[in-house]
Amino acid sequence: MDDEGASIVSWIRAHLADIAIKIAVLVALVAFWWWATARAQSLFFPTPDTVFESLWNDWLTNWSESWRENFGPSLKRLLLGFGLAAIVSIVMGVAIGRSSTFGDYVEPIIHFVRAIPPPAFLPLFIILLGIGDLQKVVLIAIGVFPPILLNTIDGVRSIDPQQFDTADVFQISTRRRITHVILPAAAPKIFAGLRISMSIAVILMVISELFAATDGLGFRILQTSRQFQYVQLWAGIVVLGIVGTVLNGLLVVVERRVLRWSRV
């Protein structure tokens, strides 16, 4: 009991130091940013207070407008593309992972598609699909598809064959076998793929909006840069950083809940 108490105290102590360092570094960073930009007086690099002011004035105070014009369209594209690709690639991944003949046919194609940098699809998709939401969603989906698919295949292939034998013995139906044996066993790998894909999805969302768009977060930073509003441009970049962090955080939360069993 005493030991435990002592270890908790020392744990807190160790973490207090960590937190103190983090805060100190944060303060030092902002101070340095302030000092450097105030000294440089550069048009390109505004001081932090103006950037925060713009965050407050341009984003937070007309929240409903920035939601309608920027967040809403962007998140819709991102989640549609990401969700679509996730469903298709998990289904395909299970099929390829279980059937080696199917895998032999499809895998060379997947590896080739993966080698193409996703933004290179953009001009082609604009010809084929126009400049609307469809083209943006498809671009995001194509970009995030390979990592999820390859991770799912990997996860399904590394399942212990004994689990399938056990399922055979108990005469478990194919459907329940997929939902109760294959998916849970492959879930850690699938989530690894999803996490890689999320950052790719954010990048592709921004690229697709930098080009032939009329709304969205990427469009907003492009617009501010065209109008030489450097402060607003920086605020937009900060907002995109926050969006990326929040989306990643949400995925980690979901992952923890779904995979709770695997850490026991």
Binding site: I203, L210, I237
Partner: protein, 243 residues
């Protein structure tokens, strides 16, 4: 692959898919092969590759020493990780509009963005590699009176090198992505992304397909080159595969 090719060819020849969307596979292939004979293509290719390689080299020179320091010192690591956590979520492409304003539309802008995006994978892999160094070998070096810098150069760096290499390999594909996307968005003088964009503006579908395929081939080629180097240089370790 061959089956797919024939299937696509038949599909388009039979006009099941309108040729306005998908030209016959043989014509796309012909266009792709013809690209290699053009001077403009090679100029674009070199412009893109040059930006990738310079950016990758600068990123490596920045990230590896930084990674060594952060991997060695626990305190520096703790302090720096806060900064890294703040900067890393910013999508590199969000910086394109800013970079255009600061550096214009030339090669410097491309390279600056590539450096920014490539630093992260190399940095993280270097730190990770430093943490995997067997402490006994470092202690042994100390026992034999090796100085600190010599220990780092002779013990840590070789032990971490497979991880650093993995980081550079990942960064190389990131570099290609960044190069092509800045070229598409920002335009400029020369590059594969600009040719792609031009093909689209001309409404030349075959050329668009051909350039998309060629970009994929460049990506594949880079992948194989790095794989070959990795297999030759790091044959002595299997750790590289584990990361």
């Amino acid at each position: 692959m061959v089956v797919l090719f024939i299937a696509l060819e038949l599909l388009t020849r039979a006009e099941l898919v309108t040729p306005a969307y998908l030209p016959p596979a043989s014509e796309i292939l012909g266009e792709t092969v013809r690209l290699f004979g053009r001077r403009a293509f090679w100029e674009a290719f070199w412009a893109t590759m040059r930006a990738c390689l310079i950016g990758l080299a600068i990123a490596t020179l920045l990230a590896v020493p930084l990674g060594l320091v952060l991997g060695l010192s626990k305190w520096a690591h703790k302090a720096a990780i806060t900064v890294v956590e703040l900067l890393r979520p910013i999508p590199s492409v969000a910086l394109i509009p800013l970079a255009i304003l600061v550096w214009g539309r030339g090669a410097e802008m491309k390279i600056a963005l590539i450096v920014y995006a490539c630093v992260w994978p190399i940095l993280f892999n270097t730190i990770y590699g430093m943490h995997q160094v067997d402490p006994i070998s470092a202690d042994t070096a100390r026992v034999f009176g090796m100085g600190r810098s010599k220990t780092v150069a002779r013990v840590h760096l070789p032990a971490a090198s497979p991880f650093i290499f993995t980081g550079i390999r990942i960064a190389a594909s990131v570099a290609l992505i960044l190069a092509v996307s800045t070229e598409i968005v920002a335009g400029g003088a020369n590059g594969l992304g600009i040719e792609l964009q031009l093909a689209r503006e001309l409404g030349d579908l075959k050329l668009s397909y051909a350039f998309t395929i060629v970009t994929g081939l460049v990506g594949l080629a880079m992948h194989f080159v790095f794989e070959a180097i990795g297999r030759r240089q790091f044959a002595w370790t299997t750790k590289a595969q584990a990361s």
